[in-house]
Each structure stands twice: as structure tokens, then as C-alpha cells.
Symmetry: C2
Subunit: 292 residues, 2 copies
């Protein structure tokens, strides 16, 4: 089977053995925003045409490719949902020479009734579980970080925090960025930001401290991005962890270490999930699909 985690700005394609093992992987050049209307069959051929020519006849796609801006809309499936529910709700799209299916995204409501959505993360979440009937709390750091409750191997509910996108907007488009050099990394400045997030005053007040600490020489320009990141991730973790808990962290890149440290500072325990969780999730869903 061919599995593609096809997002807004990038795509990752996997060729999978019948047992789910990854035989080959590649980065596709085009996220869905760069594919013209009607251009998805051609973009798929460009990405994995050689695997198709080699005889693969099943293609499973997840992520924003199933949104209104993608190949075709695969309507959100409500939580709770697991592998079987997702497999039963895949949407076929017309394609010559192979069976192509879109995995739907998930919707939920938070405790106050505000809607939540995800597209793509659901396959990473289910692929990251070590056991099919696992319980637990998971976090997927990113522009829109997801905090996910898994109950008996199904996604029971989740919340989204705009932590990554807020960081970028504040860094690049407010006065805070003027005194900033370098990037966010784990260290004393990041930890000071996380500690500050646990104090009274609220995030909007804490943000201004990034500037005043710089003005008074208590935060160097090269520490400033780390402090701001600590503030935001600290607030994110504090809101999501009502009490110290074990958190399965799923994803890749520098945010993993930052979230891991902030969770530890909040008294929790972060466990790094499988970086190939998307491939594994798509393999597990693929096994459950009626392809015929």
C-alpha cells in the first residue's frame, strides 16, 4: 500500500509492506496549497508514480488533502473514533489504475461546547499507540498544538492551542521581535519563561515582560525567543495538564524537546512517540478498509 500524509505545506509518502513495515519513504514537494484545482491526480503521480507503476494498487491519503481546499472534502467524523471508525468512513476519489481513499478528519467539542477539528493528526495519534486498547494523554506540538485524550485506543476528545502560530505572529509582528536574535531552545531562558507562565497575571501581561526584561538587561537578545517560547508553551502545558500526568509526545523537530522540558517542569512525564506514527497509523487503518 502507498500511504501519504498530505498537509497544507508539505507531503510525506510511504511505501508499506503488507505487515505495515516502511519499505520506502520520500518527501513530496507540494503541499495542497501548491496544487492547482483538479491537479491532485497528477500531483500524486508525480510523487509516487514509480511505486504505482511497480504494481501498488491501494493508496491511502490523510491530512488537509481531505479538506475543502484539497482533492475532495472528506467530512469530519465525530469523536470518539478509532481505527475501525476511520476505516469505515474513508472517502474514495476517482483515479485511474489504483484505489485511492481519503481518511476523514475528526471533530469534537471541548468541555464548554466549542467545536474542535483535526485533519491528519488522527492517524499519527492512533499510529503512536503502543497497544490497540491504550488509554492516555497525548500532545502533538505545532502551529496548532493538539492535546488528545485516548480511551481504549479511541480518540475520546481533544483541544487545540494556537501556540506555535501565536509565537510566530508575536515574534515577527510585534515589538517583542525587535530585540530578538536566534531561535527558541531549551535552556535557562526557556525555563524562566515556563516558570513565569505559572505565576499570576495572565499571558497578555507575561508577554510584555519579554520586552521589559530585555530593556533592563536581564534577558539577552539571543535568549529572548527562548523566553517567549517558554511563556507560550508554559501557558499551553499549564492549561492542558490539570494535574501532573504522563504525556505521549508525538511529532518531530525542535518543539519536541521544548514541550518535553515544559511538561517535566510542570511535574509531568513526557514520552517521545514514534516519529513514523503517521505511516503506522495509515497502515493500521489500511488493514481495516474494505478495498474491493
Amino acid at each position: 500500500m502507498i500511504a501519504v500524509d498530505w498537509g497544507t505545506s508539505s507531503a510525506r509518502a510511504y511505501r508499506l509492506a503488507p505487515d505495515g513495515a516502511v519499505l520506502a519513504r520520500r518527501e513530496g514537494a507540494d503541499g495542497i496549497l501548491r496544487v492547482p484545482a483538479g491537479g491532485f491526480p497528477a500531483a500524486l503521480v508525480e510523487m509516487v508514480g514509480d511505486w504505482l507503476a511497480a504494481g501498488e494498487t491501494r493508496v491511502l491519503l490523510s491530512g488537509m488533502v481531505g479538506s475543502r481546499q484539497g482533492w475532495q472534502e472528506a467530512p469530519y467524523l465525530g469523536c470518539p473514533a478509532g481505527l475501525s471508525e476511520l476505516a469505515g468512513a474513508v472517502v474514495p476519489v476517482p483515479f485511474d489504475g489504483a484505489s485511492v481513499r481519503l481518511v476523514p478528519g475528526l471533530s469534537a467539542e471541548d468541555a464548554a461546547g466549542t467545536p474542535e477539528v483535526m485533519r491528519g493528526e488522527e492517524v499519527q495519534i492512533l499510529g503512536a499507540l503502543a497497544h490497540a486498547d491504550e488509554d492516555g494523554l497525548m500532545c502533538l506540538p505545532g502551529s496548532h498544538a493538539k492535546w488528545v485524550r485516548v480511551v481504549r485506543g479511541r480518540i475520546a476528545g481533544f483541544t487545540t492551542s494556537m501556540t506555535g502560530e501565536a509565537f510566530a505572529a508575536l515574534k515577527d509582528h510585534t515589538i517583542l521581535g525587535r530585540m530578538m536574535t536566534g531561535r527558541a531552545e531549551v535552556g535557562p531562558a526557556f525555563e524562566a519563561g515556563v516558570a513565569r507562565a505559572a505565576e499570576a497575571g495572565g499571558l497578555l501581561h507575561h508577554l510584555f515582560g519579554t520586552r521589559t526584561l530585555g530593556l533592563f538587561g536581564r534577558l539577552a537578545p539571543e535568549e529572548s525567543a527562548s523566553y517567549l517560547s517558554g511563556l507560550l508553551i508554559g501557558h499551553d502545558v499549564a492549561a492542558a495538564l490539570a494535574e501532573p500526568a504522563q504525556v505521549l509526545l508525538v511529532g518531530s523537530g525542535p518543539l519536541m524537546a521544548l514541550y518535553g522540558r515544559a511538561i517535566a517542569l510542570a511535574g509531568g512525564e513526557a514520552i517521545a512517540g514514534d516519529p513514523d506514527a503517521a505511516a503506522r497509523g495509515l497502515a493500521l487503518i489500511g488493514e481495516r478498509i474494505q478495498w474491493a
Copy 2:
């Protein structure tokens, strides 16, 4: 006396009678960012040269004109500080034909020891007090909103929230702005945002609801900016008002109504301060200066 509230992007000049009455007022074209190095004497003449020619010999300036980027730096004065302390700390600058003084800004520390600064707001705050020995809580909405504790007519301490600048950055530089038309105003969408801010989950999570409520048709594009504003101002007010209190609101423009409504929804009482507070504060400081 001539009084000028001279900020980063604009300037407001007042010609004051000996009793502090405003005889004339005008908007200066140039905030300090548009004045070239060494160009402040000429910029002052351009703004109020006719009043100087008519015989005014005392000029009192407040705001960012006293910052490192301004005419000359007037170092921050520590809180607590009132009219007398500010009058005693004004900084003279060389100018032909008149005595020109800069009012310093104020610094403070919040409860956790993080530094705070203001420049210009201190004269508005002291000018807005009805009685010289007043106690109270004040709020100056803006890009960097100030919450100020006044004790016996002196500024005892204050905190800054980046509420206005965060709103602009999130609206103009994140996905939240894509579905937004129109501007923030008091109404049901703003009030829904304020109510949401009182719920669990934290600001970074609440922000994402602006998008999902739009996606699910529960928030119209023309309501979206008001909801986002309600979220941010609601979080700001909730953090600043530990318990319902009377708040003297100082400033002008649309933010006054938004903050007034959010304070009322939090159980507080907002009272609109004098819109000419800056002129009055400069007059009161001017009376206490040793001009000779």
C-alpha cells in the same frame, strides 16, 4: 505654558492658561519615529512656533519624546511617584527662547519582580484623578494596556498587557484573520468572547475557537473580530481584576467602550475618565516645576 503629549506615532499639543485651562489644542503631524536625529527643536517650532512667538516661554513634554529614541533620554523614575516626584525629576533640554522640560517615564516591578515601564501614561493617570489624594484602580486601554494602582494620588504600581498589539498580530498574521471582515465592536459576539475568556482552557486554546466557530457557521465573518477582541480583552480584564472593582478608564476611541463592557461583564464598574487628562496632568506637573 505649552504642553505636548509626544508619542511614537503622533503628538498632541496644548496651549494652557496659568490655571491649567486649555486655550488651544492641535494634533502634531510627527510622532518621534518621524523626527530625524537632532531634529526635535525644529519639529517643536513647526508644531507650536506661533505660540512661542506669541510669548510662551515654558514647554513641558511627555511621552516617548523622553526615550532613547526621542529628543533626549529622561531616565525612568521608580514608583511610587506622584505630581511632585515627576515635577522634581523633569529633564531640561537645550532650546533657544524657551525653557523646555521632559517629564520622565515611570518604572515599577510587578508582584513577581518583573520590571514594568510607561512613558506618557503617567501624566494621563495623574491628570485623570478628580482629587489630588485619590485611591483607585485605573485602566488605560491600548496596544500596551496599563492597569494602574493609585494610592493617595500617587502611582503605586502598574502592570502592562500586550492586548492591543496581540490582537493586531493575531488578526493580521494568523489564520484567524482569513475569515474576518469588519472591526471589533460591542455586541453579542464580543460578549461571547468575554464569556469564553472566563472558561477553563487558557487563552491559546480559546483563540482557536475563533476559527472553529467560523468553520461550523456559529460565528459570521463580520462577528469574528469582535469575538477575538472579546477573548483578549476578557482575558486581560480577568487577570487584572482579582475581584469586581470600580475602574477609572482613561483614553479615547473604540477601545473605551470595549473595555467598559468587559469590565461590566466581570462584575466591575467602569467610569470614563477625562479625555483631556494628558493636558490636565501636564498642567498640574508644570505648576510644581522650578522653572527658573
